[in-house]
Symmetry: C2
Subunit: 461 residues, 2 copies
Amino acid sequence: MSQSLRRMQYAVRGEVVMKADQLAAQGKEILYTNIGNPHQVGQSPITYYRQVLALCDLPAECGVDHPNVYDMFPKDVVARAREYRKDIGPSGTGAYTHSQGILAFRQHIAEYIQNRDGYKSYPGNIFLTNGASTAINMVLQGLLASNNDAVMIPIPQYPIYSALISKLGGRQVGYELDEDLNWAVSREELESKLETAKSNGLDVRALAMINPGNPSGNVMTHCDIQTLTEFCDTHGIVLLADEVYQTNVYAENSEFVSAKKVALDCNLKNLQLVSFHSTSKGLIGECGRRGGYMELHHIDPYVQSQLYKLASAELCSGVVGQLMTSLMVKPPKKEDASYKLFKQENDNIYNGLKERAEKLVHGLNQIPGITCVPAEGAMYAFPTVQVTPKAIEAAKEQGTTPDNLYALSLLEMTGICVVPASGFGQKKGRVGFRTTFLHPETLKAIDLFAKHHEQFTKDYS
Amino acid sequence: MSQSLRRMQYAVRGEVVMKADQLAAQGKEILYTNIGNPHQVGQSPITYYRQVLALCDLPAECGVDHPNVYDMFPKDVVARAREYRKDIGPSGTGAYTHSQGILAFRQHIAEYIQNRDGYKSYPGNIFLTNGASTAINMVLQGLLASNNDAVMIPIPQYPIYSALISKLGGRQVGYELDEDLNWAVSREELESKLETAKSNGLDVRALAMINPGNPSGNVMTHCDIQTLTEFCDTHGIVLLADEVYQTNVYAENSEFVSAKKVALDCNLKNLQLVSFHSTSKGLIGECGRRGGYMELHHIDPYVQSQLYKLASAELCSGVVGQLMTSLMVKPPKKEDASYKLFKQENDNIYNGLKERAEKLVHGLNQIPGITCVPAEGAMYAFPTVQVTPKAIEAAKEQGTTPDNLYALSLLEMTGICVVPASGFGQKKGRVGFRTTFLHPETLKAIDLFAKHHEQFTKDYS
């Protein structure tokens, strides 16, 4: 069987999670904080989106044209569903669509991007995909041609990058984000890693950035992004901008800026860029819907035609995910009857995330031996934990990493399931973990984190 | 960029279709028969399925618990949706599921397989996927390790196989189906192709069979399948059984038998088998829903664990597709209030397909110079056309195949969009095309096929 697949690792659903599932099956209560899966931990779906979806799926005579439809659905929802039914056409939600997705939806996305960035966006450059992960997979499939082709990825990174690169038989070149500089990266670090890669005979084809950061939780400034766009522009490296958390920004002085906007603000005419977005994150959290898109910008037309062919061989992304993506970029308007409830639901989710992001990080920083950079955005805190030399030794003896040892011990003592930081990559010698702040009970976990840390330190002193 | 991707071909959305899209954009009326996309050509969705889906997606208070729900939805639909909501759990349809799909749905599938075959099926061996194509992609990713690894595929085949094999950098070894024997294959043909592959230094890892056949439209007998299962069992080759058309059987004396049943009937204890099914075909035709599953049978546990890892890195298949797959294998019961309409809708679709399958093939066979084996199942007729030596020469001069020339000429003269048979592979010297019989206007096309054939023959005489 495939050696590349054999080598592939995917920590978010790795050893600690499997152990948690075992314990759960034995009746132990588990607080899953390992995965950004909002609805799994109690976040409710946004009513408006689900109502529109339902009326798009129902045959007209049982839905929009049913004599009692207004007894169950608000008028503006019915009107919106009618609009969508026109956009989708007579095939409805049950047919394969254009390989890149339904044109009207791609137009909605282009408008959204244009309003966000102030620069033109073209529906022909947009591909609707089954979540961002499928899009990333497609692009990497297109870019990686040989075992010497490499992708630069941030350390720490979201492990879908390392997993897909290794699956595709490519090579990864880590560039370190500096925890002391709010997880920014310097041009020097990028140049030095590229230099080393070249001297090892590697061809760096692409560089991935994740903004807001996963697992690091930082929100990059215009200047932070410029470092990356200029670097990629200079060296002819395709920039992959993972922007799935673009609406998850909580810190007062932070704001999301897209890589495309930075590239165009800086007049970088040669930069080849692919940006990713998803319905799984934000305040929607519709992970199970598998909606998302990528926008190609200045990608070589031949490469683009090959990506189109690839999309065609996978037929099309799910229509319901496509619909959800359009809804995400084109929510109800202020004057719509549903807007009040829509806003209330969104505000509730946003305020909950913001409050927990702040309080969780604050609480973690109160624990002696744990430090955590503020979670300005995304859904994660990524603390460093101090462990004793004895713990490091014990891990070595057990053939594992210190943070795996730590995460398993945390799980067994408290039922909290986190992902060891080594699953994302980190500076040599650092020990830590990633935890989401999605769960409404997140703050109750702070005490458990503290008790466990004390116990773990005692156990290995 | 990737050379493998560059080499990949996917005829179903290839040159002829692009030309058709161009003509359509210029206002020409096109009869698309190139793709098995039922809802695109007027087949209606089954009401019951869509109603259950809508109530699973709607938040309870706007759906199953809405005071007016029974004014819009039949009672049994509401009850069924309530059952599903329990199966799915509090996360609802918006969360990532288990990497293999929701357990209850896998249990439904296992029950369906057990009832169909009379042999045990295990939910742990079932993976829910975004349509069968994703499942095929996953398995091939797992099996193909080097450039010498090969997959035996039928000639003619559904081009997703050749496309994915070439994308993954593997090699294809065609085995010819015999048009004169209703597209069956002999053991001799299989052995001889394997022998040649071996002597070329290839390792044959898997063999794909498609039953009912695409594009060939034949329904394999128990004996036909036995030839393949025994061959794979003998040589330790993994059998990939593409059974997405298992409910599309029209011919009086034909019936679908699964490869798993044949393997177990014949007591083939070593055969490693993966079977695929989908919600895109059958009478459902919900292509845009991206639902499907694969069942692993006797697959090496280590390989299975690696496929699980691969599924995990893709997170999960879309929940709505998972739901549709469960609905497909667990339709309403006879005593349910919705059953009458359900049956009527299914019968209409089935009878239409059956009638068009018979009349289309009959009509094609009436045309001098066209012959077509009966379409016993699936959604396609795959006729042979006789072309003049002058046409063959003209194709050669234009750097194309005779059937590409034929299909483009057919498109331009009549607006009918078919796929040239060379996109599926065929015996040397054969010329033909694949046409679906999904379109309600299919039978009107017979006259056009006849007129065009006469004209084409004249043009190149």
